[in-house]
Amino acid sequence: MTFAINIGMALFIGPLVAGIVRKMVRARVHSRQGPPIIQPFYDLFKLLGKEDLESSPSLLLRYAPLVAFAAILAAALLTPMGLRPPLGGYGDMIVFAYLITIAAVAVMMAGLICASPYSMVGASRELMMHLVVEPVLIICLVTATIKSGSLLMWDMAGWNYVNGLSISMVVAGIALFLALQAQVGKLPFDIPEAETEIMGGPFIELSGPKLALFQWAFFARQIVYASVLAAIFIPWGIKFIFPWNVAAHLLKIIVLIVLVGLIDVVNPRLKINQAMKYFFGVIAVALIAMVLALLGL
């Protein structure tokens, strides 16, 4: 059953929450009516039903969307979403970090293989963003590992719940929240895609099912990242009785994603060098959290 919950959260709650943000946040701030809440599903199914064009003979391009999609789903099975994660006993946070990186590498591959200057620029931006955003996640998880003495994310969540607030975990949580915007690819950090500069970057040559798989993977990615932050660093509600623990988790990630959506709609896009500078600051905050944890705070 936990399999069903985690997969369902990633595959169906992901697009649904995205639809809610588009209609209730983005369109509201824009003074627009906005599309129906289930518009992301319409889009996905429309794309899935289209002809599968091969814009490059390379096999890498054919499999890159599948790899990204599979990696994110596997990461979802390692992530606590209100219950003990279904694959929690088989993989720890190091496996999780690898899976997330595999998804990012698949995006870069797709960008580098299409011979378009826009996708090249997009791929190199994706690489740079990943290099500064990923360390924040890893340092924060290491902080939790130091505190809880376990590499398993479920144990970290449990430790934080049992032992209550500690300074290092709060600082790490803040650092992770500051990185969340970029992890889910929202403004001001949607730099690798930057529609008005490089027209979607790595995805410019993609269409139909390939594009749908990438988009679906990204909807799921939002849930995965928000879940890591919500479960480990905001452990409220994980000891509720089923189904209330799942409901509490859902509430937390919806609040987080709506917050992300709000920040998205009131910011212009930063340039890559400005974003790098920002994330060096965030990495510093995460490192402070780790040092605090080592000091036992």
């Binding site: 701030v29 824009h30 003074s31 627009r32 200057p117 826009y118 620029v121 403004l187 001001p188 949607d190 730099i191 930057a194 529609e195 008005t196 500069e197 490089i198 027209m199 709609v265 009131v266 910011n267 212009p268 896009r269 930063l270 340039k271 890559i272 060098n273 400005q274």
Partner: protein
């Protein structure tokens, strides 16, 4: 100094090189000089007297005089004078010395004159073709009188304009010919090293419509304003206004004061909606869609207001030679004031929010630098020039319509960056609101159109210019027989400003390129009315505003 005195000083300097000298009122000077002195006179005007190069023009006068007339236009903004510098070259040797080496702003227009009339600028540093299509035959010059306006030469395959190659180690990122945020076809070939821009080349004129040719071969004086208004989809009124002013000055027609005030009000309404439109697009370019949506919502009541006044949201069709076709009735005045008050209030909120938005400032401040000297050398106009510290504004420098009776401020910022150009436009939006209020208050009663009893005499010439939202619009009319201009020359502000874009891009990040290009407000075309075609019957139905708002479709 008036035009006559300026002419005398040129005459003194160059003696019998000046063949003919005449002043058309205190503000227009016509000089005819010998071809061999062209470069030195142009240099004297540009360097010594500080005149701004506006445009040049070629006229085929082989029928009348067996010669081509090459005309360079300069503007002395401080003394409020336009200078028309004529040179005649024979048809056996259609060549003229290029002034581009000493007056760089002439670069494009000399190439255009070569493409259109076939007079070669000798010594031009960049002799590539500019305006005509890549497959246009080499020996057909569209603006010569013996080329019909509907000539269709056979298309050719495999021809392309030779574009510059990137410098060593740089790669090419194409911005265009169709780029999502620049709604018109224009091709910037941007050379980048990593994310840094190291150079750029430009190819434009994909959509040349031959409007000047139509004006001098197929239309009459009073049909031209309607075509002129369609030169631009956003600021069309400035073109018809500018053209009408040129003809009126050439023929000595006095526009009644009420007509002048109505023109002023429409021009300022157009400026408000154009600046708001630009602000929205600029927001969209840097990924800030909230600005786009909110500003365009703010702008919409103004479009409805224009529809009430003129019958159209855009392309008002109100100008004719001699005045305007529609009055602004007293019962509309209150509505105008109400719409303006609404816009002013929302504009104030926006203006207060901008300096506090650090991410927005990070994108605008210090990007797209156009130094004052470069702006002057490249002949930049309008907010592009004023954002680079050049105090030029046609409304003050060369007053037209009712601007000499109204309070117009020049808004000059010396930041030279995208932020400065943004602030110029924001300030001007508020100024326009106040100008319209003042004009409504002071508008005299009376006629709106002059009585024209006599035919417009041939062989007269005059300049008409208007400060469009994007800068100076310049029209020159040489009157001809058959109730139509012999030559009608148009220069839209983007023509001057686009030449300033390549230096702006230099050294910026690739991410800045779209907003740099957008910051000069390149002319965007737009459609404005939803039209539904019934496929089975072929019937066309246009919805009204009420139906659209209430979703009755």
């Amino acid at each position: 100094m008036n035009a006559q005195q300026l002419g005398d000083s040129v005459k003194q300097q160059f003696g019998d090189k000046v063949v003919e000298l005449s002043a058309l009122g205190p503000n227009q000077l016509c000089l005819t000089i010998t071809p061999d002195s062209l470069v030195s006179v142009a240099e004297y005007l540009n360097k010594d007297l500080g005149c701004r190069f506006v445009i040049n023009s070629g006229t085929d006068r082989r029928r009348q005089r067996g010669k081509f007339l090459i005309t360079h236009f300069f503007a002395h903004d401080e003394e409020k004078i336009y200078i028309t510098l004529h040179t005649e070259v024979g048809e056996d040797q259609p060549e003229v010395d290029s002034i581009t080496p000493s007056v760089p702003a002439a670069n494009w227009s000399e190439r255009e004159t070569r493409d259109m009339v076939g007079v070669v600028p000798v010594g031009h540093p960049d002799p590539r073709r500019l305006v005509v299509a890549d497959d246009w035959p080499e020996d057909v010059f569209p603006l010569r009188w013996d080329v019909p306006h509907d000539l269709k030469p056979p298309p050719a395959e495999g021809v392309a304009m030779p574009l510059l190659d990137p410098p060593e180690g740089a790669s090419v990122v194409p911005i265009g010919p169709y780029f999502p945020v620049l709604e018109e076809p224009e091709y910037f070939r941007v050379f980048v090293e990593g994310e840094e821009v190291v150079g750029a080349d430009y190819r434009g004129f994909y959509n040349h419509r031959g409007i000047e040719k139509l004006g001098s071969s197929a239309l009459t004086y009073n049909q031209v304003p309607f075509i002129a208004e369609r030169i631009c989809g956003i600021c069309g009124f400035v073109h018809s206004c500018s053209y009408c002013q040129a003809v009126e000055r050439a023929a000595g027609i006095e526009v009644p004061p009420r007509g002048e005030y109505i023109r002023t009000i429409m021009l300022e309404l157009e400026r408000i909606h154009s600046h708001l439109l630009w602000l929205g697009i600029a927001g969209h370019i840097i990924g800030f869609d909230t600005i786009l949506m909110q500003v365009w919502r703010m702008r919409e009541p103004l479009m409805w207001l224009c529809e009430r006044i003129s019958g159209n949201r855009k392309t008002y069709g109100m100008n004719l030679v001699g005045g305007v076709r529609r009055d602004i009735e007293p019962e509309i005045h209150d509505d105008v004031r109400r719409v303006l008050t609404d816009i002013e209030r929302q504009w104030q909120e926006l203006y207060n929010a901008i300096p506090g938005d650090t991410t927005l400032m990070a994108r605008l401040q210090g990007t797209g630098i156009l130094p004052t000297e470069v702006a002057r050398a490249r002949g930049a106009v309008g907010p592009t020039a004023r954002g680079s510290g050049l105090p030029i504004d046609v409304r003050v420098d060369h007053p037209y319509a009712a601007y000499d009776r109204l309070d117009v401020k020049k808004r000059v910022y010396d930041g030279c960056d995208n932020l400065a150009r943004t602030l110029v436009r924001l300030d001007e939006t508020l100024d326009s609101i106040n100008i319209i209020r003042q004009a409504l208050r002071e508008m005299p009663e009376g006629e709106i159109m002059a009585q024209i009893d006599e035919e417009i005499p041939a062989g007269q010439q005059a300049v008409g210019s208007v400060e469009a939202p994007r800068g100076e619009v310049f029209h020159w009319v040489l009157t001809g027989p058959e109730n139509r201009p012999e030559r009608w020359r148009v220069r839209a502000p983007t023509y001057a400003n686009l030449q300033s874009v390549p230096p702006m891009l230099q050294g910026d990040a690739l991410a800045d390129v779209p907003i740099d290009i957008g910051s000069i407000d390149p002319c965007f075309a737009c459609t404005d009315r939803m039209e539904v075609v019934d496929v089975s019957s072929g019937q066309v139905r246009v919805y009204t505003q009420d139906e659209l708002l209430n979703k009755k479709y």
